[in-house]
């Protein structure tokens, strides 16, 4: 019977320098999984993300040392550091760990959604057999259940995501909503992409260096403008995201107040991600204007993260249910050969008795007897099969299997041969 082995390192105990050493891209994960599967005649899946590298093996005999050797090889000079950070789990605890990983419960940001796709990719790139196939499918199912049945992934976990969620809180659907970006740095781009992913349209990118702004504008399908031309745009946009490196204010309260007169009461959300701030804090006092700076957004993110941690209790319950189901399935595997042998023995007896009586029966009588004996066998073996599976789930399945083998002499014929 195959047993499950997990060996890995993660952000809990391994510093980024070590995680970098053992990190693999998807092709390398595929190659390593195939190599391990071939060498050990085992099932193998390698999961590698920025937060973890884990080897999952299913093998008839213990394969932990081979897995440790494989990951140590990746660590190279850092093998000593690896030994401290490495964790080794088997069977039930390995399965539970994977379910927690897929659910985002083991992530740096609880409930983050990206990990589910990474687990799926690792599974598809790996070399799974019956055990790992079932394990990973159930892990993906557990991950999906957690996201559907709990609110762990519903609130934003980063400043750009919080800005986009606030825009939805003000405007609802963002499709057709126009965004003005001030600054063309990474923060502007990350926020813009979050807004675009929710349907918003980046209308204008304004930057001190027009060429730099034009590059981002081209990527986002927007118009590029110099910073001093933004006043006229305030009338036409719904969201302003600002993250320039300017030393002073880029947009004053008066500029926004002038634009509001032409907006006819349409609300305006302004997100100031710059330090020092680009947007005059007094803008928040204007009617219909909602101004958030980076500290406000961090406060919102901290609160939503604490909500995620609270929701993690419900997610852990879902994961525990799935882990129990997997344990039951795995336990039932121990009993399957006994059940199969018992059914085979019954069929063998039935066939031989039918063969002995065959000459005395007409074709019609033979068909009737076959049907009746087949039904008798099915009914007779139904309850013992169910009871043995239940016993397997309750951990005394091996005892039951031994008793059944002894009572019916299963396997004795083979041993005699």
């Amino acid at each position: 019977m195959s047993s499950l082995t997990l060996v890995g390192v993660s952000h809990h105990r391994a510093p980024i320098e070590l995680r970098e050493r053992v990190a693999l891209d998807l092709d390398a994960c595929r190659a390593l999984a195939r190599r391990l599967a071939e060498q050990l005649e085992a099932e193998a899946v390698v999961l590698s993300t920025c937060n973890r590298t884990e080897l999952y093996l299913a093998h008839e005999e213990a394969s932990e040392e081979e897995a440790v050797a494989a990951i140590t090889e990746l660590a190279g000079d850092s093998a000593d550091d690896l030994a401290v950070a490495l964790y080794r789990l088997g069977d039930e605890s390995a399965a539970l760990h994977l379910f927690r990983v897929a659910a985002g419960l083991d992530s740096l940001v609880p409930g983050e959604g990206e990990i589910l796709g990474q687990v799926r990719n690792a599974f598809e790139a790996g070399a799974p057999g019956p055990l790992l196939d079932h394990l990973f499918r159930q892990a993906l199912h557990a991950g999906r259940r957690v996201r559907v049945e709990t609110a762990i992934g519903q609130s934003p976990a980063s400043v750009p995501a919080a800005a986009a969620a606030l825009a939805q809180q003000v405007f609802g659907e963002l499709s057709g909503r126009r965004v003005l970006l001030l600054g063309a740095g990474k923060m502007s781009e990350a926020t813009a992409r979050n807004l675009v992913s929710r349907g918003a349209e980046i209308a204008v990118v304004a930057n001190r260096t027009i060429a730099h702004g034009a590059e981002l504008a081209r990527k986002l399908g927007a118009q590029a403008l110099p910073l001093d031309a933004v006043a006229a745009e305030l009338e036409h946009v719904d969201v302003v995201v600002s993250a320039t490196g300017a030393a002073g204010l880029v947009v004053s309260e008066g500029t926004v107040a002038d634009a509001l007169r032409a907006r006819k009461g349409r609300p305006l959300l302004l997100v100031d991600l710059a330090v020092p701030r680009d947007l005059d804090p007094a803008i928040n006092e204007l009617e219909g204007c909602f101004l958030y700076d980076v500290d406000d957004l961090r406060g919102v993110v901290e609160e939503t993260l604490s909500g995620r941690r609270g929701e993690a209790v419900n997610a852990e319950r879902v994961v525990a249910e799935e882990a129990t189901r997997f344990r039951d399935w795995q336990a039932a595997l121990d009993i399957v050969p006994t059940i199969a042998s018992l059914r085979a023995l019954a069929e063998e007896i039935r066939d031989s008795e039918l063969a002995r009586a065959g000459g005395r029966l007409s074709e019609r009588e033979r068909r009737n007897v076959e049907s009746v004996t087949s039904q008798i066998l099915a009914k007779l073996l139904h309850l013992p099969t169910i009871r043995m599976k239940e016993a397997a789930a309750a951990a005394d399945g091996v005892v039951y299997a031994d008793v059944v083998r002894h009572l019916f002499g299963l396997g004795e014929e083979e041993r005699r041969r």
Binding site: Q169, G265, G288, Y292
Partner: protein, 256 residues
């Protein structure tokens, strides 16, 4: 027998009001319990109204308490159209406590009993039903305005929990409140037109005067919206109009 249906309706509305408060802590079981409370309560109240209508010879909701009973049913019915969807669920926070209190008042005033009623003309029944439906719509619109002001304040103050509690988006609340006002004004205008058929000079009273004031206030709101009075200002005008609605119902029965 049917008059006892007020008890499950009242219990369910009360349960929904409490459960919506629980939804403030975050989306989940409380919200679903609230939704089912509204549905079950409204079905029970519908059965009660059917029972009242079946046993009465005339219009069974002619008294102030009876009108209140019908009024609550219309408010909750209008809320049920979209209010139970996850996006607008928290609207129930402002609607259901009002519905529960008003139904309790109607019950205390005998408006939920199966009583004999005087025969009244069909025109009067249509007039009353249309007016109550219009006022129910305006009540729902005021609930949206109140929710708008609450959420706008939270956004302005940068409350850290602003994304934890799922309030409908501000813009959606603003638009939906305006649409509800439009629908309500249509009903009120038709209702007033139907009532005018029975009008005789000398009948003009305080209730009619306030009703006209309601009509003018909300019509002004719609005109002002075109000039940019949206969001906070529109919500304040909406609530001012609702203050008149709250006056006109007692006036109709006690001062006419």
């Amino acid at each position: 027998m049917a008059e006892f249906l007020v008890l499950p309706a009242l219990l369910a509305y009360g349960e929904a009001a409490f459960a919506y408060a629980g939804e403030l802590r975050g989306p989940g079981l409380a919200g679903r319990l609230a939704t089912w409370g509204v549905r079950i309560g409204w079905l029970a109240q519908t059965a009660l109204l059917v029972g009242q209508a079946a046993s009465a010879e005339g219009f069974p909701w002619g008294t102030w308490a009876g009108s209140l009973n019908l009024f609550v049913w219309l408010i909750v019915g209008a809320y049920l159209i979209w209010g139970c969807t996850p996006r607008y669920r928290l609207l129930g926070l402002t609607v259901m406590p009002v519905a529960a209190v008003l139904l309790a008042l109607a019950w205390a005033g005998g408006g939920t009993a199966l009583a004999d009623s005087e025969r009244s003309g069909g025109v009067l029944a249509v007039h009353v039903a249309l007016m109550l439906a219009g006022f129910a719509g305006l009540t729902l619109s005021a609930a949206m305005a109140a929710l708008y002001l609450w959420q706008e304040r939270r956004l302005k103050r940068h409350e850290r929990r602003v994304l934890r509690v799922r309030v409908p988006p501000l813009d959606a609340l603003d638009r939906l409140a305006a649409r509800t006002v439009v629908g309500s004004l249509v009903l009120l205008t038709i209702g007033i037109g139907v009532g005018a058929a029975r009008f005789e000079s000398g009948d003009f009273d305080a209730a009619m005067a306030v009703t006209l004031a309601v009509l003018v206030t909300y019509a002004s709101l719609l005109v002002l919206r075109r000039e940019g009075w949206r969001g906070r200002r529109a919500a304040l005008v909406n609530l001012a109009g609702f203050a008149l609605v709250a006056v006109v119902l007692p006036l109709t029965h006690f001062a006419s």
